[in-house]
Symmetry: C2
């Protein structure tokens, strides 16, 4: 990102005015389009709002922009350019299609992290740099020779990666399959996208857990699906709830994250698993098993996936490297009946022509290497260590104000707030103090919960982060004077 | 892919029966689902059809599969497994969503290339291994250290790659922009997908060139768009045709590939470019400029893109590494007004969470390295060399039966057949003789054309490949006895 040069003799406001003029002339902000607000620009450029006000005044005096109270600052339609030209009505185009925007809290969190990279991050559901196998990846990449052809890949995914996954699934997940039943995807996200877009039609009813990661994904609504809730208790969902939903709404599919569920950390009960599989067979109901966390089991004994007990092919199984290696690799997989894999591979050609071969090669090498199992062991220990730091900090700072169960795997702690607080206000108070988390309501459940991700922050940030959070909370419930 | 072991003492048919039984037990072919045909399996496994017939008979005798005349072979519903279970009706699910399957010719070509990797490939629109910068990529990857965080990336794309593209676009394409107006995508394909899915709505009318690469993409129909044709002559499309379509159908967008168009190789005329830009402004009509080929210009002077003359932001500009480096990298970009980039970045989060950081880093390093320009020079020379080999072969083998104009850039030669031949029969005859191409009708135009890609085959294959093609053609028009 461009930022003004504080060493330069040219005043800051003038640098900003010149920069904006240039971007407008490049067509980034076409005639008539809205510029970012003064506050947002000030934040982005790291200057005072008054400096941006001066820059806008300068551009206004040149006839390049126009401000109208209440409707923001726009690029002038008539004065810009030699003749009065007509730009497409881009804002109308931006409303096309059926993709709903991401939830406001998620956008706010992303924006805050972008503007203040030093925020202590309990929000991003991913590993910190020191937990990722960076050294291993560097090493594997430096050893690889690209002698063969880097062409359009098989739409189902790079064959050696699918072969490596056959052994991985057998050894680590008790799932027997062959490479023709595996589809490589850009993380679990793309598996879910493909399922919702290609196997379901608008108006179809589906069941998802409540709370659930899925509620944070506008993807389900974008696909026009009708969502029904399966409440999660300490043993996960209740199969009889599925039967009831099926009777009432003819649900077409069930989405589940049975092992160390995001956000609750729950493990789906073994007895209920059996009931669920029987029910799936009775109702001919496909179950999507989203299983990104199981290998993080702190005791080293990952729960068996539903898929390993599926004798009839009711389960679409989804896995990912994101939570056990690095989310930036964007490597995920789906195990499904052959006809479904072929259908989805064909459709995904229209979307992106398949994944880059390079990270698929790295992933295959990593899975086949003798780095993989030691990496997992180290990851489990370090995640458990961070979890314990978080618990300790919560017990120290907020023993009276929160309750939670202790997660036995995964990246998240689901925390109930005892006092009633306004989600949005708490988030803003926390950001102001330098810490960020995800309000529980994003996951579809009642407010009054917080998802703390302990994997992303540095170990030494966890205590101070919770201290800041505690300040924000106590401030809001009036226990301490305002900052 | 599993293939039977010819050294083993177990008979081939028995190995195949055991293998299929295992895959059925894994849920790859759930009860009631259709198995591949005997012919397809025989092809895939490299055995005679009679061997597959024996294997099927074995499985039938065990009650695992059932064959009914005319409806193929299915996994038994009742005999498989301990109890009669009920699998989801997967074939119904596979019909869900709105994604149309890829065109039959494209599927046939892909299947043929998969089954017979030794086919001489004039069909795949990409570079051969020796044209790709494999050595450079190997070198850059071996130098890179992954010390920083491999986390979820900025949804707009890796910042250093966007910065590298700002200089690239300025230097090589005369386009002035900043990194905030660039979206990184999985090749041009994903840019087109995002535009059709997120900026247009079902029922919208759009104009595309005829013939055009776009006609080979069911993506446009999957998005529910109404397609109208802009005939391409030796100077490209005629702007007045756009005006007529606008009047009649209120087209919402125009898709063009103005430089070394796929499949015709045409360069859009300079005078018409000016008219088009004026028209776009008059009608407030956005133009998508898909520009993957221009840097291959054999004279070293790439045509200027429309975007470089766009003063008001009417052009959505799309670029890609696929045709100038390697399609398997899956790196493309879009330059668009800020509001559009933000909208598409938000939507693409729902699809795949952004691209893998790894190939984006490699791409940025490559663009910034002093390998890039020498690579382009070498590429241009070698493409021209291959083009000349193709022309020479066509003139030698088929002087009486084909006409074409000589492409000055790009990867393809668009060849008119003088005799009338059946597209599908010609393709099958050619495949039987060991060579594959794309029938022109895939690109929406009248039959009677062939697209020959000369970039993909090895130089020494081009002559022999055209000789085989000539045999196939002469066979069909009855000039030679059947093989
Ligand atoms: C339950 C669950 N599914 C899917 C995803 C998507 O992850 P990815 O696409 O990185 O694999 C996440 C990420 O937070 C998740 O928690
Ligand atoms: C005109 C045109 N646009 C887009 C593409 C898609 O290419 P990619 O997604 O690999 O950039 C192609 C590939 O053949 C093409 O010819």
């Amino acid at each position: 990102m461009w930022i003004p040069d504080r060493q330069s003799k040219k005043p800051l406001y003038q640098q900003i005015a010149d920069h904006l003029e240039q971007r407008i002339s490049y067509g980034e902000y076409p005639p008539g389009s809205l510029l970012p607000s003064e506050r947002k620009l000030a934040d982005q450029l790291g200057v005072n709002r008054s400096t941006v006000i001066l820059a806008f005044a300068e551009l206004r005096s040149m006839g390049i922009i126009e401000s109208r109270t209440g409707s923001g600052t726009r690029v002038s339609k008539t004065k810009w350019g030699a003749t009065p030209k007509h730009t497409p009505n881009w804002s109308r185009y931006a409303e096309g299609g059926s993709f709903l925007p991401n939830p406001p809290f998620m956008r706010r969190i992303r924006e805050a992290l972008h503007q203040h990279p030093s925020l202590i991050d309990f929000a991003s559901g991913e590993l910190s740099a020191d937990l990722a196998p960076n050294d291993e990846i560097t090493k594997l990449m430096s050893e690889h020779k690209y002698t063969s052809y880097l062409g359009y890949d098989n739409p189902q995914g790079y064959v050696p990666l699918r072969q490596a996954l056959v052994s991985y699934l057998e050894r680590h997940r008790g799932i027997h399959t062959t490479e023709s039943s595996i589809l490589i995807t850009s993380g679990s996200q793309q598996s879910l996208y493909l399922i919702t877009q290609c196997l379901l039609s608008p108006g179809d009813a589906v069941a998802i857990e409540d709370p659930s990661y899925c509620y944070s994904l506008p993807m389900f609504q974008s696909a026009g699906l009708r969502l029904f809730r399966l409440p999660v208790d300490s043993s996960g969902i209740r199969p009889e709830d599925i039967r009831a939903l099926y009777k009432k709404h003819r649900i077409k599919m069930v989405f589940m994250n049975p092992n160390f569920q995001n956000p609750t950390g729950m493990v789906f009960d073994a007895e209920r698993r059996k009931q669920l599989l029987d029910l799936a067979s009775e109702l001919r109901l496909p179950i999507v098993e989203d299983d990104p966390f199981s290998l993080t089991a702190y005791d080293g004994v990952p729960p068996s996936p539903l898929k390993s007990m599926d004798m009839i092919g009711s389960i679409l199984y989804i896995g990912s490297f994101s939570k056990i290696a690095a989310s930036g690799m964007r490597i995920g997989w789906m195990v499904a009946p052959n006809s479904i894999v072929e259908r989805l591979a064909d459709a995904r050609q229209q979307m992106d022509f398949g994944l880059s071969v390079i990270p698929q090669q790295v992933a295959a090498q990593f899975l086949n290497s003798n780095h993989f199992v030691p990496h997992l062991e180290r990851l489990r220990m370090q995640l458990q260590f961070k979890r314990d730091l978080l618990i300790e900090a919560l017990q120290k700072e907020l023993p009276d104000l929160v309750t939670f169960s202790i997660p036995q795997g995964g990246l998240h702690l689901w925390c109930k707030l005892i006092p009633e607080v306004h989600d949005g206000k708490l988030l803003e108070e926390a950001i102001r103090r330098g810490v960020v988390f995800v309000p529980g309501s994003v996951y579809g459940s009642d407010s009054g919960y917080i998802r703390f991700t302990y994997a992303r922050a540095k170990a030494e940030e966890i205590g101070p982060g919770i201290a800041k959070f505690a300040e924000a909370l106590r401030e809001l419930i009036g226990e301490k004077p305002a900052l």
